[in-house]
């Protein structure tokens, strides 16, 4: 045994408390979504599914969900392309400014979201508005892509370092054209890294609210924005809770996908 038994016991104790801390608030949201009472109060007085059906029928929720999916899909596709290109450039070439690029890629996620949001807002206000391009879904996608690139980049760089170039060299030596090598050797090697990066990028975009608020226009609402805007309206409480509980169940999907994709869930849950 690596760790002495009594030390291990302490570690297990701490971890158990942390697991309770992590899961109790989320369980409370789930249970409370069935609370019959319109006004919040714990514990629930009775159980009902009416808030769930009302949430599903809610027009605002539906259009916000659609906006979120549109923005996240577009940002994910753009981030996959840009992140993979940058990853190849940085890990397969030596050139001037290479280390600067690795730093600049990380910057949008290392700097606080409010800085990225503020910077994009200032830039769009001073350059796009005079051109007649207003704030809307387009500017939200631009903003989201900026911080999604890094997760794809990190996953692909890690994979490229791990697999090296020998398989691709072997493929070329055996007479495969570059395109064939890319399709039959490189892409299969990268596939799971691309999926992990893509899932992370989608999740990151779907979840985001700070950059979104700074780059979205009037009338446009992503799902997080809808929740935030309705959180303080007393009569919307139960519906907000049901939407929150629904999102919670949805967030299990990427974890399930990650475990399916890789034998090691720690690496599959992605590099941040």
């Amino acid at each position: 045994m690596l760790i002495p038994r009594h030390v291990r016991r302490v570690l297990i104790g701490v971890t158990a408390v942390v697991l309770l801390f992590i899961h109790i608030p989320l369980l409370v949201v789930l249970v409370n979504s069935f609370n019959t009472s319109r006004v919040f109060g714990w514990p629930p007085r009775g159980l009902t599914t009416q808030w769930w059906s009302r949430a599903v029928e809610n027009e605002g929720v539906r259009s916000a969900l659609l906006t979120s999916i549109k923005a996240a899909s577009a940002a994910t596709v753009l981030a996959l392309v840009l992140g993979t290109m940058t990853a190849f450039a940085v890990s397969r070439y030596r050139f001037f400014g290479r280390s600067v690029i690795s730093l600049v890629v990380v910057l949008p996620i290392a700097l606080p979201g409010i800085v990225t949001g503020m910077a994009l807002n200032a830039a769009f206000t001073t350059t796009l508005k005079p051109l007649g391009i207003g704030f809307g879904l387009f500017t939200v996608i631009l903003g989201h892509t900026t911080f999604c690139v890094v997760v794809v980049f990190n996953n692909v760089v890690a994979r490229l370092q791990r697999v090296g170039v020998s398989l691709q060299e072997a493929s070329a030596d055996l007479g495969a054209r570059p395109w064939t090598t890319a399709r039959l050797v490189t892409f299969p090697l990268l596939r799971s890294a691309l999926v992990a990066g893509g899932v992370l990028a989608f999740g990151l975009s779907f979840d985001e609210i700070v950059v979104t608020t700074f780059t979205s226009g009037p009338g446009l609402q992503t799902l997080p924005q809808w929740i935030f805007n309705n959180l303080f309206r007393p009569n919307q409480g139960p519906i907000v809770n049901a939407v929150a509980a629904g999102l919670l169940l949805l967030s299990v999907a990427p974890i399930w996908a990650a475990t399916k994709l890789s034998a090691d869930p720690a690496s599959a849950s992605g590099r941040l």
Binding site: I3, T15, P25, V28, F88, A122, W179, V210, I227, A266
Partner: protein
């Protein structure tokens, strides 16, 4: 390794297997410089023009001002915004409060993350248990940010879960406010600390942990002198997230903080309510300085590689 010229990133993600594409890629494979230029073109346009350009615009805007009469942004140089931020005691109090919250969140999350990550990486024999624990710990990372905020709102609410749980013991919820905000932020950023620390523990060879506890006398001594210094890069990598994310958050404090203000609220309120773009931009410079200064300071530790 690159001179062999066998791969190019663009190709691995495109799917059209046409003859033109095959010919282009073959031609490109003979010219590594052209290939590199092509690979870098789109990402550099995005990162340099769009992102760094935006940051530059923000810095420029921070020394402009709003004409109090017309409400229009005047592009004339002035230090007024920074002068107000530095001399007005309201902003100093908010900045100090925010840095304190960021420090508390960072320290607490490190204290929690190290034992949990040690157990995850080295304390479990069965890989199945380990996989389950990793999932159980990283789950809140996947849950929606606002859902977590909502969860802590109903935990700390006057009629909420904490009050109900503490009532038999004669206790009360501290209610919504600075405490609730700190706990919620700790909750939000905890996985960002646990995952890099876990990765740092995983990189340590088992024999080293074995030797530390076998030869080091008391476990605490072995832990403090051998193991902790080796996982410090992971802790520092995590602290970049916990610190920077706290400095940039204004939503959580609105959800669980009642009237409490953190630094990011200054930025948000000036862009939203007051419509003072230059002042908001000047306010956003402070977190940039703090985070960049921090990044530069920890560059030597190699923590940036474990991000």
């Amino acid at each position: 390794m690159s001179s062999q010229g066998l791969t190019s990133g663009g190709r691995s993600v495109t799917t059209a297997p046409s003859g033109v594409l095959a010919r282009t890629t073959t031609a490109l494979s003979r010219n590594p410089r052209a290939r590199l230029a092509l690979l870098l073109s789109a990402p550099m346009f995005w990162l340099v023009v769009l992102y760094l350009g935006s940051l530059a615009t923000m810095f420029a805007a921070s020394v402009w001002q709003v004409d109090s009469f017309t409400g229009q942004v005047q592009r004339t140089f002035t230090w007024d915004n920074f002068h107000t931020l530095l001399t007005n005691s309201v902003y100093r109090t908010i900045a100090l409060r925010t840095v304190m919250v960021a420090l508390i969140v960072t320290v607490l999350s490190a204290v929690i993350a190290v034992p949990v990550a040690l157990l995850m990486a080295k304390g479990l024999r069965s890989s199945r248990t380990r996989a389950l624990l990793v999932i159980a710990i990283s789950m809140p990372l996947w849950a929606n940010y606002l859902v977590k905020g909502y969860a802590w709102r109903i935990m700390f609410d006057e009629r909420g879960v904490l009050d109900w749980a503490l009532h038999p013991l004669g206790g009360h919820t501290p209610g919504l406010g600075l405490t609730a905000t700190t706990v919620a932020l700790l909750y939000l950023w905890l996985p960002y600390m646990i995952l890099p620390v876990y990765a740092a523990f995983e990189r340590l060879p088992n024999s080293l942990i074995d030797a530390a506890f076998d030869l080091g006398g008391r476990p605490w001594f072995a832990f403090r002198t051998v193991i902790l210094p080796l996982v410090m890069p992971g802790v520092i990598a995590g602290s970049i997230f916990t610190f920077s994310l706290t400095l940039g958050d204004y939503i959580m404090v609105k959800i669980v903080g009642r009237a409490t203000q953190l630094y990011a609220n200054v930025v948000y309120d000036n862009i939203g309510v007051a419509g003072d773009l230059p002042f908001a931009a000047a306010a956003a410079v402070f977190p940039v300085l703090v985070v960049v200064g921090y990044l530069v300071a920890v560059r030597r530790t190699g923590a940036l590689e474990s991000l």
